[in-house]
């Protein structure tokens, strides 16, 4: 009888472990969905907190850190205070570092770093030149690693779109990037359900401006 107890306990814990990874995936996707649908800042923060819990519980899953950082960036867009935005984005960068540590996809992580810079620019437009130059560098590297990364193409396009023409930007130069980005979104097949997937709507709305 004691043996049955032990076996059933062990069996129970094995089952738990196998479903753990599936649980992490489900939890991540659930939290991301919550974030996407969040109407209020409180709801968004609740979703981002859940992403933080998942990242802390599963430190080897790079996507958990990735999505946590992404969630922080989305939170920062709701914030007006430059100092708070800076703190949120510093925290996002720390999560990106952890994602690198968990051997995350370099192309996606470089793109996310550029996204963080764009969020900084959004809060502090006086540093526009500096931030957009740095973002440009990161996105070029991201595209070198994977030329059809739809998010890198989207952000590169946005960077050019908002840079004055006389500084090498402008609507015309941005267009090919948006077109390639849309094509990449339509053709792309992510390897895992929890790989980064945001941005298709943003690419669509950029194209509608032409």
């Amino acid at each position: 009888m004691k043996l049955i107890t032990i076996i059933s306990c062990v069996f129970f814990s094995l089952m738990t472990m196998k479903t753990a990874k599936a649980d992490a995936e489900a939890a991540l996707l659930g939290a991301l969905n919550q974030l996407h649908m969040a109407a209020s800042t409180e709801a968004a923060r609740t979703a981002v907190n859940q992403l933080e819990r998942i990242a802390m519980a599963e430190p080897d899953v790079w996507q958990a850190h990735y999505h946590h950082a992404y969630g922080m960036v989305m939170l920062s867009f709701r914030e007006n205070d430059t100092r708070l935005v800076g703190q949120l984005l510093d925290k996002a960068e720390a999560s990106v570092k952890q994602a690198y540590g968990a051997e995350g996809d370099p192309s996606e992580l470089l793109t996310l770093q550029a996204f963080i810079l764009q969020a900084r620019l959004n809060a502090d437009p006086s540093q526009a030149m500096e931030y957009s130059t740095q973002a440009n560098n990161l996105l070029s590297q991201a595209l070198e690693k994977r030329a059809d990364n739809p998010r890198a193409l989207l952000l590169m396009g946005q960077n050019l779109f908002y840079t004055p023409e006389s500084f090498g930007g402008g609507k015309e130069r941005a267009l090919p990037f948006f077109e390639k980005s849309m094509a990449a979104y339509e053709n792309n097949e992510p390897q895992s359900a929890i790989d980064p997937f945001w941005g298709q709507q943003a690419a669509q709305s950029m194209l509608e401006q032409y």
Binding site: E42, N49, R53, A57, R83, L88, S166
Partner: protein, 705 residues
């Protein structure tokens, strides 16, 4: 028995509680979780949380909330759990460490919380492209429009010194003739970091009674480029080269006001329209072991000549004045970063020759200066650092006054060797508090005196938004050349500063209020009629300057609009130089107010700027009146505008710039000068001191290739 065990392991427990800050405020948005699991919750608007978990036994509860230190609590879960209130402490380490700000306006890339950025300074309308003009839009620097130099908090121009990369620049201003204000010798585009200190500065800087302007050369260009500038006053060209290890930039500029002054009516007749030709070279090189070598060199020659009232002759007469200035300045600095040590060394050399010719006499001044500096900073455990330095400055000055009718021929000269040592300690015993204390010892060979100065300052961070700072110290300066050429049996001039400020910063808005009291002693006095006799010079002058400076800047209320407001109130009186009694000096207007606004219009790729400056009338002495310095000129008011348009010309990045001062066309009178001899009725006639033209326009095209 084990059925109960299984039932328990399947049961969900609830954990609930409340989270508050250490000040007692409830905290919504806190992330509360069981370490190692996904279980957790976010606190609601009352700081309350509830979550369920399948875990039991020894667990760690983990709380995380931005701006606060994370907290871990050990729990033993055996059933539904209600926790006692949990408190989180504010984490000030996430904020920039508290910075001593008393008496300082900083614009640079090092600090995150700055009051001004370098580009802000460059785009201020009232400045017309001059660094010192730009500084008058900040509280503390008085608008003395006919002069153009820095007059800080009731102090004379010689009390403010300019440093480039830590080296003192003896002649930062281009020479000027009456009523044509001096401008800075160096273009503001050369500098990336600026600290304008209106008092209480570090023991590292001496020989400045009132203020120190610290400039850092921008020797780190982003890419190699060629820059062309075409302006209504002249043109320039610059070529920058860059590689992995360093960069080099060579520029030349030719300014000639003739075409401009022929079009815009001027008050005076010019025999020789002001013209300047200059060239500069600067660069940097990274060396082994984290070292950085920076080089800067500038050479220029200026000429001008005009017809100006001759105040020492019969009223109504005029004379021709010619001015020729040659200047050369070069410096080399080296900085090296070891683990806890930072070493900085520098050497500089300058030569300045001023030739002034009037009808009856001519004056020639030659100035050689050299400087060697060394500074060492050692940091201990991140909270405590010691700075020590030694420097030596050499000056050789020659003055020649020659009467054209073969009369007086006077030669005065002196050499000065000025060594100094200093040591300063800076400590942050808590994250909220920073303290700095230092001592500086100087010796001047020309007056043969030693002096020791003390400096101290501290800053306290109340919370994330409020900070207070204090500074005090003694500041010494050797008397100026125009005194030393006659008399050297003198002492250092002295000023004691006492400063306190409070600063509020939140949401891209910053507000500062600073109170100061300066006590001057040992100021040089001499008898105007016996200026050539050494015995008439002494250090019996003294005075005070006290006031309040207010500054407010807002970059967030209106999206693309950035504006700042500065206000100063100065109460200053002194007896020095030829003053017969204590009086408010001519460079200390009682109230000064400036409003600067800038807006970027993205659709037009254009920036628009406006500045409004107002000041109460400055004192002047009317020899027709009994009292000294009793009169006040009319108040000063100026509205200047500027605009910069970014566009692409033949595929190259270009900026079209236009600025206009005094757009309302007011008659500006800074004060009055008086003829030394009375007219027929025994009155001393006055001539108003006013700008050479009502408005100043500047049009420029800048192309980067």
């Amino acid at each position: 028995m084990y059925s109960i065990l299984i039932a328990k392991t399947h049961a969900q427990l609830s954990v609930q509680g409340v989270v508050k800050s250490s000040q007692g405020a409830t905290l919504p948005g806190v992330n509360v979780m069981l370490k190692g699991s996904f279980d957790g919750a976010t606190t609601n608007e009352n700081g309350e949380f509830t979550f369920t978990t399948l875990r039991t036994g020894e667990q760690t509860l983990f709380l995380s909330f931005m701006g606060f230190r994370t907290k871990e609590i050990s729990l033993y879960l055996a059933g539904d759990t209600i926790l006692e209130t949990l408190y989180l402490r504010e984490d000030l380490r996430q904020l920039d460490a508290v910075v001593i700000t008393a008496g300082t306006f900083e614009a640079g890339d090092q600090r995150k919380s700055v009051t001004l950025r370098p580009l802000d300074i460059v785009t201020t309308p009232s400045a017309a492209g001059d660094i010192y003009g730009m500084l008058t839009s900040l509280p503390g620097a008085a608008i003395v429009g006919e002069d153009g130099r820095l007059f800080v908090r009731g102090g004379d121009a010689y009390e403010s010194k300019t440093f480039i990369d830590g080296m003192m620049v003896r002649q930062p201003y281009a020479s000027s003739i009456p009523d044509l204000p001096s401008r800075g010798r160096f273009s503001p585009f050369l500098f990336s970091g600026t600290t304008f200190s209106t008092g209480g500065y570090s023991a590292e800087y001496g020989q400045a009674l009132s203020s120190a302007l610290l400039l850092n050369i921008n020797a780190f260009p982003e890419k190699p480029q060629t820059e062309l500038s075409f302006m209504s006053v002249g043109m320039g060209v610059r070529q920058t080269l860059k590689n992995e290890n360093g960069s080099l930039s060579l520029g030349a500029e030719y300014i000639n006001l003739k075409p401009y002054m022929r079009i815009v009516p001027e008050k005076y007749t010019w025999n020789q329209y002001p013209s300047t030709i200059s060239a500069n070279l600067f660069g940097h090189r990274k060396t082994a072991n984290n070292g950085l070598l920076k080089f800067f060199s500038n050479i220029s020659e200026s000429k001008s000549g005009l017809v100006y009232p001759d105040l020492s002759a019969t009223p109504g007469s005029h004379q021709d004045i010619f001015l020729d200035n040659k200047n050369f300045y070069t410096q080399l600095t080296y900085m090296q970063d070891y683990n806890d040590w930072v070493l900085k060394m520098g050497v500089a050399f300058g030569y300045d020759a001023d030739s002034i010719s009037l009808e009856r006499f001519s004056v020639q001044e030659d100035y050689y200066s050299g400087q060697v500096r060394m500074r060492l900073i050692r940091t201990f455990s991140g909270h405590f650092s010691i700075k020590a330095g030694a420097e030596a400055a050499f000056t050789d000055y020659t003055f020649r006054y020659q009467g054209n009718d073969g009369g007086i021929d006077f030669k005065g000269a002196f050499s000065e060797y000025l060594p100094a040592v200093y040591v300063e300690a800076e400590s942050r015993p808590f994250h909220r508090l920073a303290i700095r204390t230092g001592l500086r010892h100087e010796y001047s060979s020309v007056i043969d005196k030693h002096v020791t100065a003390w400096r101290t300052s501290a800053a306290w961070l109340f919370n994330a938004d409020w900070q207070a700072s204090v500074a005090a110290g003694s500041f010494y300066q050797t008397p100026e050349e125009d005194i030393l050429r006659y008399a050297t049996q003198l002492h250092f001039e002295k000023a004691n500063h006492y400063i306190a400020n409070i600063q509020y910063e939140k949401q891209n808005r910053i507000f500062r209020a600073e109170f100061y009291h300066k006590v001057y002693s040992s100021l040089v006095r001499f008898d105007e009629d016996l200026f050539f006799a050494p015995a008439s010079y002494n250090n019996l002058g003294e005075g005070y300057a006290r006031g309040v400076d207010l500054f407010f800047r807002d970059r967030s209320t209106f999206r693309t609009l950035d504006y700042w407001i500065s206000y100063s109130w100065v109460d200053a009186r002194r007896i020095y130089r030829t003053f017969p009694e204590k009086a408010r000096p001519h460079f200390a207007p009682e109230h000064s107010f400036t409003l600067v606004g800038k807006k970027w219009v993205h659709a037009l790729s254009t920036q628009l700027g406006i500045s409004v400056s107002l000041a109460t009338g400055r004192p002047y002495h009317d020899p027709n009146k009994e009292n000294f310095m009793s009169e006040r000129a009319k108040g000063y008011s100026d509205i200047s505008i500027n605009t910069s348009h970014l566009f692409s010309m033949w595929g190259q990045q270009s900026i079209l710039y236009f600025s206009a001062s005094n757009v309302l066309g007011r008659d500006i009178i800074f004060g009055y000068r008086f003829y030394e001899n009375p007219d027929g009725e025994g009155n001393f006639p006055a001539i108003p001191i006013s700008p050479s033209a009502k408005r100043f326009f500047l049009l420029g095209l800048f192309i980067t290739i």
